[in-house]
């Protein structure tokens, strides 16, 4: 089964956001990395980019498919995970840890509350995978 940590919020497009105050870390979920398979290339935004919730923030290529990444909340990019350039496989091996994608400053700290909780995301994934 996919690992779904309690202390994150989740988007329907399978990004997680880990919030600490008005700062947050964004990546893709364990379920998403399993669906994608071996990740070989991650395209991320520039530091300083302003993103509205739902904006495409980059893309992730696995051997078999490409998938777009979307900003789960309105935010400003303050850091991107440069280690994914040489080690995109970190997205597979440690999606919530070393495989994070961007760190952001959240515009409205209440916005993440609109996203799914771990429990809700688990139900959502079960429905989507038809199990």
């Amino acid at each position: 089964m996919a690992n779904i940590p309690e202390d994150n919020r989740y988007a329907k497009s399978h990004e997680y956001i880990h919030v600490e105050g008005d700062m947050a870390t964004i990546g893709i979920t364990d379920y998403a990395q399993k669906e994608l398979g071996d990740v070989v290339f991650v395209e991320l935004p520039q530091v300083g980019a302003q993103l509205d919730a739902g904006d495409e923030l980059g893309s992730i290529e696995s051997v078999k498919a490409v998938s777009e990444l979307f900003a789960p909340v309105t935010c400003e990019v303050v850091e991107v995970n440069e280690s994914l350039v040489d080690k995109p496989e970190l997205v597979n091996t440690d999606p919530y840890g070393d495989g994070w994608m961007i760190k952001v400053k959240i515009s409205n700290v209440e916005e993440p509350d609109d996203l799914m909780s771990a429990e809700e995301y688990e139900e959502y994934v079960e429905k989507e995978s038809g199990k």
Binding site: H14, D38, F41, V63, K64, V66
Partner: protein, 367 residues
């Protein structure tokens, strides 16, 4: 990641249950439920390049052509020269329309002068069978679709012979490349050929559906890595083997597809010959080339090749090459832009990216 809804229940191969048991992640592949991967595409790919893997390719179709005029039918409908086949020999060829477009790309096995076993792409099985049957009208030849009688396992990789030999009475060492033998595998009657779709040494085993699961299990128990469609695609692309529906179809000819080596003009008349002769003398309008990305990204099937605002060609296959660790692919380009070393622009989801025409195959095994 979206599921493709289908109105029909998916067809299952005789190895479906074993595939699930082994942890295969099932997908809809042209109406067949098949594993796209087990442990992961990169891991499976490497296993085939360095050791040995096994693929369930039972979805592939089989057609037999038998009778006094069997050779004549195949000479008329395909572009390679069937008269060059001996008993126990197979070849790759194009089943062509009069336009020289591909009905399918197929393997023809000659069992005897009036008995041929033909392996066709799964999604083309009915179409190919009907095409053969139509072309055979009035001839002394019997065409049968025998696909339900056969499961097929591909055992591929440098250690293929070593792992398969203990399971069969057939002397695998005596089977040369693109030759086959008939004999028992785990006690079941089988056709074993030294063929494959990976660019590695290996065998394809055709046997009855009820005997296939035990062979698959036994191979995996012997340390053979179960492999899915994902690795099959990266392996075949590195070896520059065409995929019907991606790289070739009814609108592309063997000359355009850089498959001139399967077109034999000295064998007499065949369907599409006049078109192919013209393409050979005047040059085809476009040519399928191998490319590497210069810029980052993967150019995938259907992405346009552009010159300024004009679309001049298209990508037919593209992936990350696990062996070369590069982004590679195949594309149709206008003939005058298809020389090795030429650079071109492909649109990756609307963004321009540069690519370069390179020699193929991308990967060739050391002999």
């Amino acid at each position: 990641m979206a599921d493709t809804p289908s109105n029909h229940p998916l067809k299952k191969t005789p190895l479906n249950a074993v595939g699930r048991e082994l942890g295969g992640k099932m997908v809809d592949f042209g109406g067949w439920e098949l594993p796209v991967q087990y442990s992961g595409i990169l891991d499976e790919h490497e296993a085939v390049r360095t050791r040995v893997g096994v693929f369930d390719v039972s979805h592939m179709g089989e057609v037999t052509v038998r009778g006094r005029q069997a050779s004549e039918l195949l000479q008329k409908t395909t572009c390679n020269d069937v008269s060059k086949l001996d008993n126990g020999k197979a070849h790759y060829t194009g089943l062509l329309y009069p336009t020289a477009g591909f009905v399918d790309d197929i393997l023809i096995y000659r069992k005897s002068t009036d008995d041929y076993f033909i392996v066709v792409n799964a999604s083309n099985t009915d179409k190919d069978y009907e095409w053969f049957a139509d072309c055979a009208k009035g001839m002394d030849v019997e065409v049968r679709n025998v696909s339900p009688d056969y499961a097929q396992l591909a055992v591929q990789g440098p250690e293929a012979q070593k792992v398969l030999q203990p399971m069969t009475e057939v002397d695998l060492g005596a089977i040369k490349y693109y030759r086959f033998s008939q004999g028992r595998v785990l006690g079941a009657p089988a056709i074993v050929s030294r063929t494959g779709y990976t660019g590695e040494d290996g065998f394809e085993v055709y046997l009855s559906p009820e005997h296939a699961p035990q062979l698959m299990r036994k191979l995996v128990e012997s340390g053979v890595k179960p492999c899915g469609l994902g690795a099959r695609d990266t392996l075949r692309l590195e070896a520059k083997m065409a995929l019907y529906g991606n790289d070739i179809d009814d609108s592309t000819t063997p000359i355009e597809a850089d498959l001139a080596w399967i077109v034999k003009f000295d064998k007499g008349d065949f369907m599409g010959r006049d078109v192919l002769e013209r393409e050979k003398s005047e040059g085809p309008r476009r040519k399928l080339v191998g490319f590497e990305m210069i810029d980052r990204g993967i150019a995938r099937h259907g992405y346009p090749v552009v010159d300024g605002s004009k679309e001049i060609g298209g990508v037919t296959s593209g992936t990350h090459s696990p062996t070369l660790k590069k982004s590679i692919g195949l594309a149709y380009l206008p003939l005058d832009k298809s020389a090795q070393g030429s650079e071109f622009t492909v649109l990756i989801r609307g963004k321009e990216a540069r690519a370069r025409v390179v020699p193929t195959p991308f990967y060739k095994r050391a002999k």
